[in-house]
């Protein structure tokens, strides 16, 4: 009540209006690039070249999308990306939460060792060339597993999940112990079902990371088309400014408008999960910040 009244006196001030104006401006600037892309993706390629397609398509066409969809490399990239996102996310969640469970328990032996061992890797890494060497030694070069195994475990995500686990409390675990459940069982059948908010948050982070990554294709494969991911395909279209290979490519499309269509296609899943991300991420990030 009191608070409400106090703020009412300031809510119609000039400074308030300026703040809203600045924030709306920031929002428009961040939103606009996507509107531009959407407009371009539905516009005739040669017409787009003349410039001026800024908000809406001027000469509407679906040719750009047809051209992208007729390119077999899109489907390879999409297949690999979906596969690595689904498998990679599920596997990473299991491994990361398993470690998080153990790390959240006071009884874990050698806790100091585990903690130091984990934290060191947050501050020092070998870099891409030694990593390339390891990938080769492990036989992961040009192997689909190179998309899955290196991202199985992340220290940061482990800290976020274990912070949540710690909040569940000892009573739950002790009750399960009395029932004779093993630690694995307690983690899987008791803690996991109780932690859907944090698992959803971290799972979405991991999934987005998988969906957006193109580096492993560039660095750790021979760039054979069968290993392409969606983002790598996009990068080739954008950087090489090359027309896709497909029978629906005609003179009405350009590399530019086709790349717009491909970008829109690649953004659709992100747009679909975005409301969930938006709902959960602030909570998750706040959890992460509590770790220090």
């Amino acid at each position: 009540m009191k608070r409400e009244k106090l703020h009412k006196t300031t809510s119609f001030s000039i400074s308030g209006a300026i703040i809203i104006f600045v924030l709306v401006l920031i929002a428009l600037i961040t939103l606009y690039p996507f509107i531009y892309t959407l407009a371009g993706s539905f516009n005739d390629g040669t017409d787009f070249e003349k410039g001026g397609v800024w908000l809406f398509p001027r000469v509407f066409t679906l040719d750009n999308y047809n051209a992208v969809f007729s390119d077999y490399r899109l489907w390879i990239g999409l297949g690999n990306t979906v596969l690595r996102t689904v498998i990679g996310t599920a596997a990473a969640l299991i491994v990361t939460s398993c470690v998080a469970y153990a790390m959240s328990q006071r009884e874990l032996p050698c806790k100091r060792f585990f903690r130091v061992y984990n934290v060191i890797t947050m501050f020092f890494s070998g870099g891409i060339v030694p990593f390339f060497l390891v990938v080769n030694i492990l036989g992961l070069y040009d192997n689909f597993l190179v998309y899955i195994l290196p991202s199985l475990y992340s220290v940061y995500n482990m800290i976020v999940i274990s912070t949540f686990f710690r909040g569940i409390g000892q009573g739950v675990r002790e009750a399960a112990i009395l029932d004779g459940a093993s630690e694995m069982r307690i983690w899987w059948s008791v803690f996991m079902p109780m932690s859907t908010p944090v698992l959803a948050t971290v799972g979405l982070w991991i999934a987005v990371m998988h969906w957006n990554s193109y580096l492993p294709t560039l660095l750790y494969t021979s760039k054979d088309e069968s290993m392409w991911t969606l983002q790598y395909y996009l990068m080739r279209i954008i950087k090489d400014a090359a027309l896709p290979e497909g029978d629906a490519v005609n003179e009405n499309v350009t590399a530019q408008t086709i790349s717009f269509a491909a970008m829109v296609i690649a953004m659709i899943p992100i747009v679909c999960v975005y409301p969930f991300l938006q709902k959960h991420f602030a909570k998750g990030a706040a959890l992460g910040s509590l770790k220090e």
């Binding site: 400074s15 924030l23 060339v129 030694p130 992100i270 990030a285």
Partner: protein, 312 residues
């Protein structure tokens, strides 16, 4: 260890074994994908350049400091270092405060709907890959079909007869700074928003009764209250003075802007993967890692001394 366990009167039992086994998963994963690569940095003091079997070269060739000498005499390396440090210092100047200011502004909005709408839009670019975001920015800055030139014309900075080619090297740094601010302003701010949400409203009410305006409340209450969060992020940012997002720079880089766009991350890539000078690239990674850890420790020490808080 033994003594400690006896002290706590806890015997090592099956449960401890199970827990250790679960935590041990992290030991295995990190051993292969974090510690082995660190061990691989030995390449930096071996002669592995252009070798067909890197592992063999790493294990069998002579110990040498030649790779570091090569770097010091490489003019290219110094210009790359200048780009990296310059860009990251500018980034510290703009990209670090931007999310903080954004969070402070958001905090001043009373309407929940406006707040939510602005945050929803501003957070979105964070989840879009650099490939897509970079592709869009390249299109937006195009001389004929882009939007930036018409906007500059409206301000009298460009003209249709003589448009500015924003892909020229001299605009690269400004472009990178602006693009990073746009992509990260929303996401970067949520950590501050979360910290601000933890401040007790009573403090603001008390200040308001004393006649403190928006500005005073932000500067005298909000910022001091979230200072620990700000310190941590400042320390992390400073320690990354030699680090850039490879994914970001690789997308924007082309042969025309190379003089301004080559940073350590991309130079390591081209040295190691294009020219196959594995040892030279490893030497650069090692250099980057050492500087980063040194800066982090130094910043942490200073922060502990001055404010009594730090990362560790």
């Amino acid at each position: 260890m033994e003594g400690k366990r006896e002290e706590n009167k806890v015997k090592f039992n099956v449960r401890h074994g199970q827990l250790a086994g679960m935590a041990g998963l992290s030991v295995i994963c990190l051993f292969f994908f974090s510690y082995l690569p660190m061990f691989g940095l030995i390449l930096a003091v071996k002669d592995g350049n252009k070798s067909l079997n890197i592992l063999q070269a790493m294990l069998q060739s002579e110990w040498t400091l030649q790779n570091f000498v090569d770097l010091v005499v490489d003019e290219r390396f110094w210009s790359v270092l200048w780009n990296t440090v310059g860009l990251n210092l500018l980034s510290l100047l703009f990209n670090f405060p931007a999310p903080l200011i954004f969070a402070l502004l958001i905090n001043e909005v009373r309407s929940k709907h406006v707040r939510k709408a602005v945050q929803t839009v501003a957070n979105f670019p964070h989840f879009i890959s650099w490939v897509i975001f970079g592709g869009i920015v390249l299109a937006l800055t195009d001389m004929t079909t882009g939007v930036i030139n018409p906007v500059l014309e409206a301000f009298g900075l460009s003209s249709p007869e003589n448009p500015i080619d924003l892909n020229m090297p001299q605009y690269f740094w400004a472009k990178m700074i602006i693009v990073t601010v746009i992509k990260n302003i929303g996401w970067g701010s949520i950590i501050y928003t979360a910290a601000i949400a933890g401040i007790s409203p009573e403090i603001y009410d008390a200040a308001a009764i004393d006649g403190a305006g928006r500005w005073t409340r932000a500067v005298r209450i909000t910022i001091p209250m979230i200072a620990p969060t700000i310190t941590i992020f400042l320390l992390l940012n400073i320690s990354r003075i030699l680090g850039n997002s490879f994914e970001q720079f690789y997308v924007f880089q082309n042969s025309a802007n190379l003089s301004k766009s080559e940073v350590l991350a991309t130079y390591i890539y081209s040295t190691g993967f294009t020219y196959r000078n594995y040892s030279t690239a490893a030497a650069m990674s090692f250099f980057e890692g050492v500087i980063s850890v040194a800066l982090l420790s130094m910043g942490n020490f200073i922060s502990n001394r001055l404010t009594g808080r730090g990362l560790f």
